[in-house]
Point group: D2
Chain length 336, copies 4
Amino acid sequence: MKCVEIVATTGIDGLRVTERPTPRVGPRHVLVRVRAASLNYRDAMILAGSYARGVSLPRIPLSDGAGEVVEVGAEVTRVKPGDRVCGTFFQRWITGPVFPEIQDTALGGTAEGVLTEFALLEAEGVVPFPDHLSFAEAATLPCAGLTAWHGLFEAGNLRAGDTALFLGTGGVSVLGLQFARAAGARAIITSSSDEKLDRAKKLGASDTLNYAKNPNWAASVRELTGGRGVDGVLDVAGGESTKGALEALRHGGHLAIIGGRSGPGGELDRRFILQKGLRVSGINVGSRAMFEAMNRAIAVSRLKPVVDRTYDISESIAAYRDFLTGKHFGKIVITI
Amino acid sequence: MKCVEIVATTGIDGLRVTERPTPRVGPRHVLVRVRAASLNYRDAMILAGSYARGVSLPRIPLSDGAGEVVEVGAEVTRVKPGDRVCGTFFQRWITGPVFPEIQDTALGGTAEGVLTEFALLEAEGVVPFPDHLSFAEAATLPCAGLTAWHGLFEAGNLRAGDTALFLGTGGVSVLGLQFARAAGARAIITSSSDEKLDRAKKLGASDTLNYAKNPNWAASVRELTGGRGVDGVLDVAGGESTKGALEALRHGGHLAIIGGRSGPGGELDRRFILQKGLRVSGINVGSRAMFEAMNRAIAVSRLKPVVDRTYDISESIAAYRDFLTGKHFGKIVITI
Amino acid sequence: MKCVEIVATTGIDGLRVTERPTPRVGPRHVLVRVRAASLNYRDAMILAGSYARGVSLPRIPLSDGAGEVVEVGAEVTRVKPGDRVCGTFFQRWITGPVFPEIQDTALGGTAEGVLTEFALLEAEGVVPFPDHLSFAEAATLPCAGLTAWHGLFEAGNLRAGDTALFLGTGGVSVLGLQFARAAGARAIITSSSDEKLDRAKKLGASDTLNYAKNPNWAASVRELTGGRGVDGVLDVAGGESTKGALEALRHGGHLAIIGGRSGPGGELDRRFILQKGLRVSGINVGSRAMFEAMNRAIAVSRLKPVVDRTYDISESIAAYRDFLTGKHFGKIVITI
Amino acid sequence: MKCVEIVATTGIDGLRVTERPTPRVGPRHVLVRVRAASLNYRDAMILAGSYARGVSLPRIPLSDGAGEVVEVGAEVTRVKPGDRVCGTFFQRWITGPVFPEIQDTALGGTAEGVLTEFALLEAEGVVPFPDHLSFAEAATLPCAGLTAWHGLFEAGNLRAGDTALFLGTGGVSVLGLQFARAAGARAIITSSSDEKLDRAKKLGASDTLNYAKNPNWAASVRELTGGRGVDGVLDVAGGESTKGALEALRHGGHLAIIGGRSGPGGELDRRFILQKGLRVSGINVGSRAMFEAMNRAIAVSRLKPVVDRTYDISESIAAYRDFLTGKHFGKIVITI
């Protein structure tokens, strides 16, 4: 089968398009013919060797894929050949709260990823996706979509009528914006590009702010909420953005900490958390049960994730390269 | 001022349109020029003498009104003359969980109601309503709207992608349907009238069921959810409806018990609750904090409550009479 | 191996002590040398043919056992030979909320039980128990203990300083009493036997009430809480007990519905639930994650479950017979 | 009446013992004859001029007092003369989540404090305390006690069987330790003084660690929990302690951020929060409803807060001075 491998964690040069034998299916596994996969910052960090956890090489990259089941193991009843599914980022986090061992089976990291014609996944580690989505659209969900859903609704308890703030127009933020709107919440989004803000407006953003033109954007967010502040923020960025987010939150509001372009680092000022009685949660993608809940919401609202551009698997290196420029709005997808 | 009084709890004959002196404003009270009021089953029960709590007579009826503040007490800063507000059903339930003393200040019951030109309310017992609502629309919220909101989202934790079931097309059910849709949930509604189901469909109902034509409607609800069952039900009815609701709920689903047309009574079978691990909550209208949360959701979604018909205060007796026929869809409103 | 089988669901006559081949261990299973097992009302109902779900015969009975692991399958890393473990009631309910399929692997019902020398269990379906417990004490936990824990703390959120009410001195109630006290809560317990109430007092009951002597025991419970009412009740009984429990609860209090001596049936009056804004939950034993949480609480408090009397496996029929008299306090255990 | 005033926020020199007229009681106020008051770091910061919010001078200091009601306003029914009560830190935070305006009525800060013979408090701003406590013991509760309770149980959801970590032996930590033990949790505490650790052990600490002798104390905490990590931490200190706390927490554990000796400042590393999926909450004392819940827990467990030393009001300056040395264990109390 055709696949991509990371052969060295030295950046773009470490990628190669290659062939491997198609995996054989064990009794509790399923084989998925992957049709589309999408890129996340974690994938860039893994390739650059800057990810918290090392990967053994060669490794098939990418956590986020969608395809159809082609074969199931003898004990498998959850899915059947022909089902359209995504793989779950953590193959063994089914439900309940986070636990350390989820990291042992992370697609494209500690386990083989999905940038391949055929992916061997745990029977419990796949989830059917809504009928109205294409493979490319579904491929945006396993990491970026679920992270946004988890941060907004599972950890943050955002409700209809609440206001959420999104920092920039990367994949997590744009999907978060769509989820917030579908759930009856108000969504404010920032960017340094008026063009991207226009696209966000068309997707339903209630209000947009160009932080390059308006350095006091956090104060503007407060004004937009009548001085109350926002209920939840997806903090994908760290650094100055996080400071603005802390300022923009209401008393008792929720900050979801997400690893983004700038990596997992940066600091939080205890003072803000204390004075406003804030709640902060670290968001590690999510469980399969959360994925299923997200899919139900997508099905009811019939929202469509935004695919910025698609590449063929043979153009994978170009896809990574363009992803690293940060010029995209929504998700970069590779079709297979 | 013009007002309506209950002079005997013997049914329609016990009502009269009359005059009273306009109340004087104490330091922590506000005077509201009521513009619209709406009817609930509780009002009919009070008038019939079948309500759990007796009322002292004469009593101005109705809990649900909207109007504008015309005068505020010396210590009042929350609102000012000209503000458009609703009174809260329980004048002293501001926030936090339910407590017994809320019953001591229930409008139109233990306290004077709002079917009057001028209502004297606690400064803490009024809440501004969304700008896009008329007085008549806002008057549907204090009891019926808040009960639906509380049952679905505060007690029941309904989320985007979940499915809610509504039994009949009374005020609570129709507002609940609108709230559920605004929050990205699916809404299934029943009625014995195809005409009412058509109206529900136009309001956004995902699916409708005529229980008169389909005695196995509960099984049909399960089918509509792929066999999973619904996440939440507003049980406004008791009796056979409740049995169907218990059957239609998913494992771990939520039944919100609400006093409706048939009064608060009836029984619940422990067996269903046990076997499916259900959750059941008694819903007593709600707190002001819940009202404010509901208003934010209404403002974001710009939904408009359904006013079936309006009557002038001089036609109050006709309004009660028509209400008792149960032919309305949504709410009966009296303008003042 | 020696074991007990149900050969007919016709009551005591349907039991026999017999031999079976020792099971062979698959890759994701463990073999446990059972040392003790305990009886629950469900076991009596299954034997009498009155349980909601039929069982295929012959069937090894009992859900609640403790023993030591003697062999593990090739893929098993959770436990190792020599570990002291209990089996989990639902072999595949690991964590998260209840779901219908848990019923497919219920020990002593849809799956073979633990009244046997050797039980073949799922690797994910065993849980180590606290060091200070004997096998007999640990055997009280899987159904009765976990049901009490789930009802009080997982569904009911009982906290230090709250008051819980226990109806009678069966296994669930006595373990619940001990858990409530270990968690810093107050515990009120009822019985028709002063002798049993004395024993409950020695176990830490804050207050005891003889319902045979005091038909107004529910009013007495309210007095004992200064008129406020209790925060939580384990409703093991149905019928008149349930009515008293509803009366004894505070506004917003929690009723945990549990299948007990009188089976799962009976009715709940909607009126009480509505007027006091009560919360009601159906309790289906619980997940392994709940079991682990319970075990941590038992380990910290070093509480010892109450074993009323032990029987040898050869005396199993006598054990069932004595259990059915209802004269025990705490649990009846069979050692193997 | 005798009282203490801050006349300049320049440290100890800014305090004076003086006289003021006894306040007159308005219709919704109560007059309390204060019998004891206790010191918190906030009081030291206010005196030093380093508190986030300025105070108008002269100001009677201290938030934490206990005494008996001597007079109530015309509209007051909650309490009566003779009742033994504490004042609530935030006079108008009754129940529900935090909101900005709580800061407008903070005793000893934006409002007059309790280091005075007679304190005029809001009728809603007093709370009866458990019978088994002396005035001195009760005076430890309004800030230090409630902060610990809120951080452990309201924000952190600590349960029986969980493990909590306490950093140092200041007032919040020692009360937190007692609450955790009363609630059936395990408590690990650190100090640089073996003598203080001995005292903590006698109060029920499950394990103690001298961080001066064991710089790897965070790793030792993990070992004490079998590698799992602790469920909750009260982070009173910031700086290096916070780093250790983040290391000691389990996946999904809870960090309660509290303003302590080192003020509200310091930074939190996003990396830890993200990788372990931690939850963080800022703790602003708490509401009256939380105070009442805490009091119920204290009453059931009959725990006694630790008063390190008491001073007469005339020795107030010495009390502050000794407090600032940090040599105390538990609370410093001034009797009046």
